[in-house]
């Protein structure tokens, strides 16, 4: 990419030029002017940088207000407590029912977080402001998704050790594969949740609609999450038998739904 020579009128730059090269020069100047008007860069890296900006904005809001993650944490903790009433852990082994307990505690608070992410933009017409930026709709989606993933993982990072204390299982030996399994499934859940969060924020009864849409579409993800978490809690490896199949399916799910949401996000943001 050659930078434009100077911001002089095309004709004045080369008085002795033939009409042909003058026209070419004028065309080039127009092209560069258009480029300047559109912004510094339209490439993939620039879009990713913008997505990072959107994510950073959400993280900064959360750092300053602490509106979201602490509430998610307490909700998740309450779910753990309530489920401990439902299962008798003095007799049941945690590795048998633990996967279900953990995932219920992870996904219920996360749903609230997805709703919050766009309620934030709706107040004070922030979404209109975001749409005026040079970022694509898909870029906004990626930024929102990144922030949601960070929030969900932060909550899970706090809840996981606490669950080991509350239910008395040995976390240390399974920590690495467990963390991997939780992260992979959380990404997929956030991918769908961010899409439906944006949708339901602009409907009536969005708070009810969001979990209905989200949980029905993420059924395969939940099956995979519970099965792989259970396998890992029982000391299985990530590449054993069906666990590998589940993980491949989850990666496929993450990929398909992130792409679909990224492509269709523009239709959700139209006025």
């Amino acid at each position: 990419m050659n930078p434009p020579p100077a911001v002089t009128p095309a004709g004045a730059a080369a008085p002795a030029a033939t009409p042909d090269s003058q026209a070419a020069h004028a065309a080039r100047a127009d092209h560069h002017a258009a480029r300047r008007a559109r912004g510094p860069d339209m490439g993939v890296r620039a879009e990713l940088a913008r997505a990072a900006l959107v994510a950073a904005k959400d993280l900064r809001i959360e750092m300053r207000s602490l509106d979201n993650v602490p509430a998610m944490f307490f909700f998740a903790l309450l779910v753990l407590v309530i489920l401990s009433f439902g299962f008798d852990f003095s007799t049941a082994k945690f590795s048998d029912v633990g996967a279900g307990v953990l995932w219920v505690a992870f996904v219920f608070p996360a749903v609230l977080s997805f709703g919050h992410a766009f309620a934030l933009e709706r107040d004070g017409e922030c979404l209109s402001g975001l749409r005026l930026t040079p970022a694509d709709a898909g870029t906004l989606y990626l930024g929102k998704l990144a922030a949601n993933i960070v929030f969900m993982l932060a909550m899970e990072a706090a809840i996981l050790p606490l669950s080991a204390v509350l239910f008395g299982y040995d976390l240390a030996p399974v920590l690495a594969p467990l963390a991997f399994v939780i992260a992979v499934h959380s990404v997929g859940f956030c991918a769908v949740g961010t899409l439906f969060g944006a949708m339901t924020a602009r409907t009536r009864r969005g708070d009810v609609l969001l979990p209905i849409l989200l949980f029905s579409v993420s059924v395969p993800l939940m099956l995979a999450a519970v099965r792989t978490t259970s396998a890992v809690l029982n000391g299985g490896g990530l590449w054993d038998g069906l666990t590998k199949t589940w993980l491949v399916m989850t990666c496929l799910f993450d990929l398909v739904f992130t792409t679909a949401a990224w492509l269709s996000f523009q239709y959700l943001l139209e006025e």
């Binding site: 409907t203 739904f257 959700l268």
Partner: protein, 250 residues
């Protein structure tokens, strides 16, 4: 402002014919399939007469898949062209598909109870159908709770696409989840069926195909009329507002 005239009341001839003939054919085929199921098809060896519900159960399952596929295509077409008709087709097809899925879910237990000894079991195909039903119930709820018609159409189209992308993933996931559970009936294109059974089964498929087409032929024009009504209401409201403003000025 061009108002749609009384146009839709005098429908084109082919549509009037379709609206009359398709339900008649569907009804006739239903009676023929009923007769075939009870008097023509051979009695199944182990399950006995209970198995005869199969001719109404399985074809509905196949057709609901077709209905949701039509919605998937119509959703893509709507987002590409923004023509109202595609939104109406997508919506109508989900309604028809929900009816068919409900038939599958309701006829299933009547078969399962005597054969398996339980109304419901968490078998892969049952779970898959239930999840399918819930995804498209979500689609209909999403439409109900979205007020702005354009937004409603766009949201529904995105849901129609995302929901359908989920269908194969759900299918495989519930199969792995249940391990290698034996299938209820290994049917591949009616290949494993006894000849008389195969004929009645095909009759069932044709019945539901015509039922689906009949429902669409009735529902899509209804959707257009709803659109017209909404436009008329909006324009009469706007005119009333205009008159009020004029009265205030003079």
């Amino acid at each position: 402002m061009s108002l749609p005239g009384p146009a839709r009341a005098d429908r084109p001839g082919w549509l009037a014919a379709a609206q009359m003939l398709l339900p008649l054919i569907a009804g006739g085929m239903a009676i023929a399939t009923l007769y075939g199921a009870f008097f023509y098809a051979a009695r199944e060896k182990t399950m006995g007469d209970v198995q005869r519900i199969f001719y109404f159960h399985a074809p509905a399952g196949i057709m609901c898949f077709l209905a949701f596929f039509v919605t998937f295509l119509a959703s893509i077409a709507y987002l590409r062209t923004r023509r109202r008709i595609w939104d109406i087709v997508g919506h109508s097809s989900v309604e028809a598909g929900m009816l068919l899925t409900s038939i599958v879910l309701l006829t299933g237990p009547f078969w399962a109870r005597p054969v398996w000894g339980t109304w419901w079991t968490w078998e892969a195909r049952l779970v898959w159908t239930l999840v399918l039903w819930m995804i498209y119930a979500g689609y209909l709820l999403l439409r109900r709770y979205t007020d702005d018609p354009d937004q409603q159409a766009r949201f529904a189209a995105v849901m129609g696409i995302v929901g359908f992308l989920d269908v194969p993933i759900v299918y495989y996931s519930v199969h792995w989840w249940r391990g290698h559970h034996p299938l209820v009936l290994k049917v591949s294109g009616g290949g494993g069926l006894e000849p008389t059974m195969r004929i009645v089964f095909l009759g069932g498929i044709i019945t539901y195909l015509f039922l689906y087409m009949a429902l669409m032929a009735l529902r899509v024009p209804l959707g257009r009329m709803e659109d017209d009504l909404r436009r008329l209401e909006a324009s009469s409201r706007a005119r009333a507002r205009g008159r009020r403003d004029m009265a205030r000025v003079t």
